[in-house]
Amino acid sequence: MENYLWVITFAPLAGAFVNGILAVSFSNSQRSVNERLVSFIGCVAPLISFVTAVGIFFHLRGLPESERLVVQTLFPWLVSGELHIDFALMVDTLSMVMVLVVTGVGTVIHFYSIGYMAKDDGFARYFSYLNLFMFAMLVLVMAKNLPVLFVGWEGVGLCSYLLIGFWYKDINNAAAGKKAFVVNRMGDFAFLIGIFVLFAVTLRLGHPTLDFLGVRELISEHPDAFATTATVAGILFFIGATGKSAQIPLYVWLPDAMAGPTPVSALIHAATMVTAGVYMVARLSYVYLESPVAMAIVATVGAATAFFAATIGICQKDIKKVLAYSTVSQLGYMFAAVGVGAYAAGIFHLMTHAFFKACLFLGAGSVIHAMSGEQDMFKMGSLGKKMKITSVTFVIAALTIAGVPPLAAFFSKDEILWNVFTAGVGPAWLPGFLWAILFVGAGVTAFYMFRAVLLTFYGERRYTDEAAHHLHESPPVMTMPLIILAAGSVVAGFVGVPAVLGGSNWFHHYLEPAIGPIAHHAAEVAGHATESAVHSAGGETHASHGLEIALMVLSVLVGVIGILVAFRLYLHKPLIPGRLAERAKGLYQLVYNKYFVDEAYEKTLVKPGYQLSDKLCFRVVDVWIIDGIVNGVGVFARLFGSAVRLFQTGLVRTYALFFLLGLLYLIYRLVG
């Protein structure tokens, strides 16, 4: 079965290639491309990946637990001296989950796109990019070593850039793409340095490797050698993750990224690409477990982001912006989980989030499609009557994110909260504090989600008659994906029912072989500060069962309170929010404007940076020094070339003469 790993990655690449050719060949012609053909190619490619991935999944299940790993080396890639890097793919249980999520949700969203993007000029280009994204993402999650992962990492960044600026004729979209790209580059830079740091240490240990398994082995053998490296590399990798996964301080690109087509927001900026950072931290769990400091930073930043972004979500008017901040917030939860060492919990939430957030985005897309591009929720209202399927699936997904049992996020979010609460990371007060933040964040999440639900689908009608005229439920090719994803958000949680509720937490045990130090070494590491983390799954001891259930009830309660408040404010007393905003004008403005973070960045970083690059780098360094050198070399070389050219007289005699002179020089040097 391992011989088929390449199929998973290369089917989308082939799709991207074919559709790319179609896109290019139709770009200048008057005829429009055959949409049936394009959508067939575009959707079959990820479907092939998905089917193959399912095959690999069953193959893995057939293996003993500790050997659940398939590897395929495609070709030796960089071989130079000490360094030997293969272009190799690997699927262990962690990758497996990611591959299934990416291909499964990805396929559904591809189908949805057929309806959403119909009649768009860039139909073939869109599917080409989307398939290319699938390829890059699958390379990322199936990479066997860091350089291959980095290829995927950069590849998804590129596709994200291309798709955010998909409608590039609007300058704002192009600017949003650029912003995403530039912000991500900052993170990538740190990530790359992190790779170098790790490599330097393995080189010093005499086993130069960047292979995940190799590094894991090496850390198990020489934990001392990695003491400081783990912290440095861990923080550098995490900076990379804050870029890709939109955490403080590099989250600012994600809300702007909503400029892209909505299915793209669903696939790339909610379900898959942005979770790459979480995956990467989980993949490098053995590095983080060596460094309590790095873990504490990850957890703190994650929790802070979770809360901070949730509060911004309260005041947004644009339905996609609400979802974008919600994504940032939910990613914060995942980081909080992996930060305290609860990798399984983080990945579990990643998986459930993929379902409900993709469902929410696609539902929003369905609404936007029906409203001919309107995204302001205050111009919607009572759409539920006209769009039954969309509204029902949207509500299910919203209930899920609010943590209502027994929907998926109830299990995953509670596992995170419980793990954070019982974690042994950082100072003694930290876990409790982080828990409190996340707990309040959960309530806020429920509130802003239902605010969005009520504003969009219920309450009074606020849209114009013209909009009403062509308001319609979306076609089946768009509603079917909604139903599938909503069903997913309902049932996905049952793979991880905790022991306290009578489940076996299958998901947690499934991931176990892929996470943390190598099994035979696990006992030693358990001595680290992360004891509870490695064996978390929600408190093995009987005594803590009561506490766990209490926390669970609390978080359900806070979610329900959030929902009820939303009902009160936006359905029963719709005038209150306006009055509240009046009364606390300053606070409202602050939150509405996203705490002015973009403006602060603009003032403190972008402007001075721009000034610096314009006044110093461009006017002085570039124009004078660099251009001076380049042009100087150019001028000099051209002069030299013109001079040498003079010898090229066109006369055979001259050529023979130079031949003879050259020979005499050779003789002089050799014999003389």
Partner: protein
Amino acid sequence: MVTIHHYMTLSAILFFIGVFGVLYRRNLIVIFMSIELMLNAVNLSFVTFARYTQSMDGHVVAFFVMALAAAEAAVGLAILVMIFRNRATVQADDLRLMRD
């Protein structure tokens, strides 16, 4: 007493007469002849060494060189005839359409 050095010197002199012929003559036919002279100087050198080392290889090479010199002359003269037809000249210095 005529030694190998005399033969070698003669060969070198002939060779350089040929070389300078190529360098200083303008007429293409004369340049051809100079190249032939170079090749014959080489032949002399081969035969001398063959005689000196008492092996047959040098003699064989001399025949090869003669054969190929003839082939070369055929090709060269063909090119020359072609140029004369098109340009009505056999002066090397007239052929400088391509330079710098």
